[in-house]
């Protein structure tokens, strides 16, 4: 404060910039007293998200690093990124960045709603990051993150996302979701895209593939592929060879999913008598074991509970598709989604949240699918979408964000919604292929190699 008091213009400029760019700082600084007379306007609540200011980054690729870190924090929905014009705080940041002279003007930053300052400098080996606690007026953490590969390459970006997620964990106690990828189907091929929408690349080149699924350690992926004898389950090592699951007989074999320990795979096998789920050692040669007793109904789209002891799946045994839940060996099957007598709309595509509390699914409302979740504790249902047709939800590792297919933009694309904040969904893919993108599968956290 003393420093800026010498320069009244600097102080005014900072206040003006903060007023214009908004954010947490503005909310905190808002005059909440009501004057006499008529008033029209909105009162913003400052919320509970910590305000983080990423100071201008020093070194090569500075702007890209600043942009990616800011975006990662923003997409995580747990941090309020305070946006300030770099020139407005140049005096305070320059001295702090080089590590000489006065420390950052903590009282000023506190007044602007900043609780955490992130200082990052590019070094020869990667990114040197200091995290300041503005309230305690001290540096709380210093860490170096290696940046691998060519700048802006997928490996380099993944390393930077990993740094962002680690910082988010330090600030909020929950790891971010930016160092993840999403598999999806587009034009009969399986693609993958970073969680921020960058680096969309096809991972299958031939055949017609669908239903991608991640191995829990992200070392493999599985999908179904059309062949001469129907469809078969393919397991592909990431960056390595593929092999066909030997236990899958002819006919339709669909919707594979790995168990949380990564050893078992459950998939749906359809025959004339309906479709049942089968469990098999994903990397062995034992015969598959049936786990559902459909008796002519269709049982598909399995998803494991985080402890691997239970599964949820779509079954038409009640007459039309509903979400069922059972033990992983198929016993104790019970309907999960409640319905009213005579109700002909249906529910399906369940995905169990990584924290085990919720199951996301698609539910037909007025003839169109929408995304909803059901609590396993009290079976309460919460609907998240209403615009367009929204299908195939898949949880992020933070059990808070969902990727889903939606036609709200005109073509089917993948979108991401935050189940906590109710913030409008953001579009993830922009596939130019006519049929768009669908069947998203969110990866576990990825580590740079």
């Amino acid at each position: 404060m003393a420093m800026l008091a010498k320069n009244r213009w600097g102080w005014l400029m900072v206040v003006a910039v903060v007023w214009l760019v908004g954010g947490w700082g503005r909310a905190a600084a808002q005059d909440t007293t009501f004057k006499e007379g008529v008033r029209i306007g909105l009162v913003y609540s400052p919320g509970t998200k910590p305000g983080v200011l990423i100071m201008p980054v020093g070194g090569d690729m500075a702007d890209s690093i600043h942009t990616i870190l800011s975006r990662d924090f923003e997409y995580g929905d747990r941090i309020n990124v305070v946006a300030l014009d770099p020139s407005a705080v140049a005096e305070a940041t320059t001295a702090a960045r080089v590590g000489t002279g006065p420390v950052p003007n903590y009282p000023l930053y506190a007044k602007l709603g900043v609780q955490v300052l992130v200082q990052a400098n590019v070094t020869a080996v990667g990114l040197h990051v200091s995290v300041h606690n503005v309230v305690k007026k001290q540096i709380e953490r210093v860490r170096d993150y290696p940046l691998l590969g060519v700048p802006l390459s997928p490996e380099w970006r993944l390393a930077l996302h990993n740094a962002a997620d680690d910082l988010e964990f330090f600030v909020t106690g929950t790891r971010g979701i930016s160092s993840t990828r999403i598999l999806y189907e587009s034009g009969g091929r399986i693609w993958q895209v970073d969680a921020d929408g960058a680096n969309a690349i096809a991972v299958t080149t031939t055949g017609t593939a669908m239903s991608p699924a991640w191995h829990p350690k992200a070392t493999h992926m599985a999908y179904m592929q059309f062949g001469s004898a129907g469809t078969q389950i393919v397991i592909k090592e990431i960056g390595g060879p593929t092999r066909i699951l030997s236990s899958t007989p002819g006919g339709l074999n669909t919707t594979p999913v790995f168990s949380p320990d990564g050893y078992t795979m459950i998939y749906a096998h359809a025959a004339e008598s309906g479709a049942d789920l089968f469990a098999v050692n994903a990397f062995g040669s034992e015969p598959a074991r049936r786990v559902t007793v459909g008796r002519g109904s269709d049982n598909t789209q399995p998803t494991f509970s985080p402890d691997g002891r239970r599964i949820a799946f779509t079954s038409s045994r009640s007459g039309h598709p509903e979400v069922y839940i059972s033990d992983a060996d198929g016993t104790n099957a019970d309907i999960l989604t409640t319905f009213n007598f005579g109700d002909q709309s249906y529910r399906g595509s369940p995905d169990w949240s990584p924290d085990g509390r919720l199951i996301a699914f698609q539910t037909q409302i007025a003839g169109r699918f929408q995304i909803a979740t059901i609590s396993l504790r009290d079976r309460s249902i919460k609907q998240y979408t209403s615009e367009g047709v929204n299908e195939d939800p898949s949880w992020a590792p933070d059990s808070r964000h969902l990727v889903f297919t939606s036609d709200r933009g005109g073509t089917r694309q993948l979108w991401i919604l935050d189940t906590d904040s109710g913030r409008p969904p953001r579009q993830l893919t922009r596939s130019a292929i006519r049929r768009g993108a669908r069947l998203g599968a969110w990866s576990p956290p990825l580590r740079p190699h």
Partner: protein, 270 residues
């Protein structure tokens, strides 16, 4: 002589009969022609009549055929409607079954709540009185009633859902101890086995599954317990014991879902 005269008369008579005149022949021919004409007229009339009858028959047949077709279509529709109705009824039955399941869960919750409220009803605190009154046999203050089986089951299930397996198991075992004849006792014993399994205590879970079979062999949980025991034996590499258990599921509980799964297992694990 008389005989000769008689012969001559007879011969003359015969000759007069054999020689018809031309006029007779013409008349005869006329008669024949007339008769032929009548026959022809009669034939054509009959033929017209027959044709009429044939037309009528054809018309009747066509009408009958149309009626048959309509009736057949009606029958088909009726059959279709009946099938649809039957299918609808089947679906509705299935839905009712599922709804019954939902209702049973809700009933279970309600029973538990009722028991909880009943247990909260405590007799009013005793007013300070002369100790001699109590000594004289006054009613002692009522103790809070113990939780009922529904309440115990609900509480233990809640703990199970939260992952507090030891607490859940204690609740289930308490239920079996206090209410061994309750409808919920087999379920409680089964879930105590599940709690052991969730903790990775395979030996104890296998024992508990066996106890379900021993104490409540006719319970709806019995085939599930036996099937899980068989799978556990298989995981331990005890193939022949697993096979025997699977065979037992198939034989003793042939109508259960587990019997279907066991038969499938036996087929693929010969």
């Amino acid at each position: 002589m008389k005989r000769r005269v008689a012969l001559l008369v007879a011969t003359a008579a015969l000759n007069s009969a054999c020689f018809a005149t031309r006029n007779d022949v013409r008349i005869l021919q006329g008669d024949v022609l007339a008769m032929r004409g009548e026959i022809a007229r009669a034939d054509s009339a009959r033929s017209r009549q027959m044709a009429g009858v044939a037309t009528q028959v054809a018309s009747l047949l066509a009408t009958l055929s149309d009626s048959m077709r309509v009736t057949s279509a009606r029958l088909d529709r009726l059959r279709g409607d009946t099938r649809t109705d039957l299918y609808d009824i089947q679906q509705q039955l299935l839905q009712i079954q599922e709804l019954t399941g939902q209702s049973q869960r809700r009933l279970q919750e309600l029973r538990a709540q009722m028991e909880e409220r009943a247990s909260q009803v405590v007799a009013p605190a005793p007013t300070p009185t002369d100790s001699t009154v109590a000594a004289a046999g006054a009613t002692p203050p009522a103790q809070p009633t113990a939780p009922g089986p529904n309440q115990l089951f609900q509480l233990a299930q809640d703990q199970m859902r939260r992952g507090s397996y030891a607490t859940a198991r204690a609740g289930f075992q308490e239920l079996v101890r206090l209410y061994p004849t309750s409808d919920l006792a087999p379920d409680a014993l089964y879930w105590s086995a599940e709690a052991f399994a969730a903790e990775g205590n395979r030996t104890s879970s296998d024992s508990a599954y066996t106890e379900v079979l021993t104490r409540y062999p006719r319970a709806s949980r019995a085939p599930t317990a036996l099937y899980k025991l068989a799978l556990s034996l298989d995981r331990q590499g005890k193939r022949s014991e697993a096979r025997a258990a699977m065979d037992r599921v198939s034989r003793e509980y042939p109508q259960s879902d587990e019997a279907d799964l066991a038969r499938d297992w036996l087929r693929t694990n010969r």
